[in-house]
Symmetry: C2
Subunit: 199 residues, 2 copies
Amino acid sequence: MKFSPLVDELIKSLQCLPGVGPRSAQRMTFQLLERDRAAGHKLGQALSEAMADVGHCQRCRTFTEQTLCPVCDNPKRARSGQICVVESPADVLAIETSGQYDGRYFVLMGHLSPLDGLGPDEIGLDRLEQLLQDEAPQELILATNPTVEGDATAQYIADMCRESSIRVSRIAHGVPVGGELEYVDGTTLALSLSGRREL
Amino acid sequence: MKFSPLVDELIKSLQCLPGVGPRSAQRMTFQLLERDRAAGHKLGQALSEAMADVGHCQRCRTFTEQTLCPVCDNPKRARSGQICVVESPADVLAIETSGQYDGRYFVLMGHLSPLDGLGPDEIGLDRLEQLLQDEAPQELILATNPTVEGDATAQYIADMCRESSIRVSRIAHGVPVGGELEYVDGTTLALSLSGRREL
Ligand SMILES: [Zn+2]
Ligand SMILES: [Zn+2]
């Protein structure tokens, strides 16, 4: 024990956050206890509620506390017959912000990474395959990150659709190679969507 | 709304932590939801308990969920007739780790900083004055940080004791000027304690 049990426990628990080590956990703990207990209370509440109630959209896998996320729950978004595959909910947000896309999404929640134990099932490709059968979309837009892993994941999904009649495309121009999709501005993303090419 | 309400709320709440902006709050939220809900639950619990139950030691003001902290609750620590004044609970820990001090503490929970609204009462100097009358210690060791604010605070407390018969000392040699007490190693702190001089 270094401080009192509850203080020690909080310092230890904060280190589950990415980028937070013992020193910054201690600083956070003292700051909350000394200057902002109301915020600390609120954060505790927000954590408990989110961990308990946030699940995945049954259709696209993004985070939501509903059965379906607002995009999947909106029948208008089915009209274009497009499904855009992205790595994370932040990428959905980035594409929505570009205002250039009115189809639906499928969120992998990661990318293929066999060394980390992330195979096709872990990123929901079994679910995607089922979805392609059920919805028979006209186009599958692969908007995974333009990184080695994102490209490999896109290629894997393209190969998976080879037998079907679905048009498979990959977003292309505009997104800087080696960058992360969610950091790209709306104009660049719009260019990237309109300049997509078939795989 | 950017994501779902509970996700948005968590991202917003995390930004009460020092050094956490919107980007890292989002990264923390996704990481907890996707990879470590058990840790997120535990952190929520630890926060709620600490914010509700951790108070201040009635004698020395350090953080504790008891009426008295373990040091103040230990009658042996009263024998030396010494009180060491520090800025934070982390400083108590640093001095305890040096193993060279067996007296009691008084924790200011900050330093004098009039521009931030931290005057003598805010750092507990009214309480310290009462303590000096009640306990009539032989020596008051001023171990505030060797910074402009820490030095000014030490000088203020020394002036406060000018009329009394208490010996007032300031830790001195060894602690690098401009540094922060809690980052100093035990040996340096021990030197610093033994080389203290009267003010
Ligand atoms: Zn959805
Ligand atoms: Zn105490």
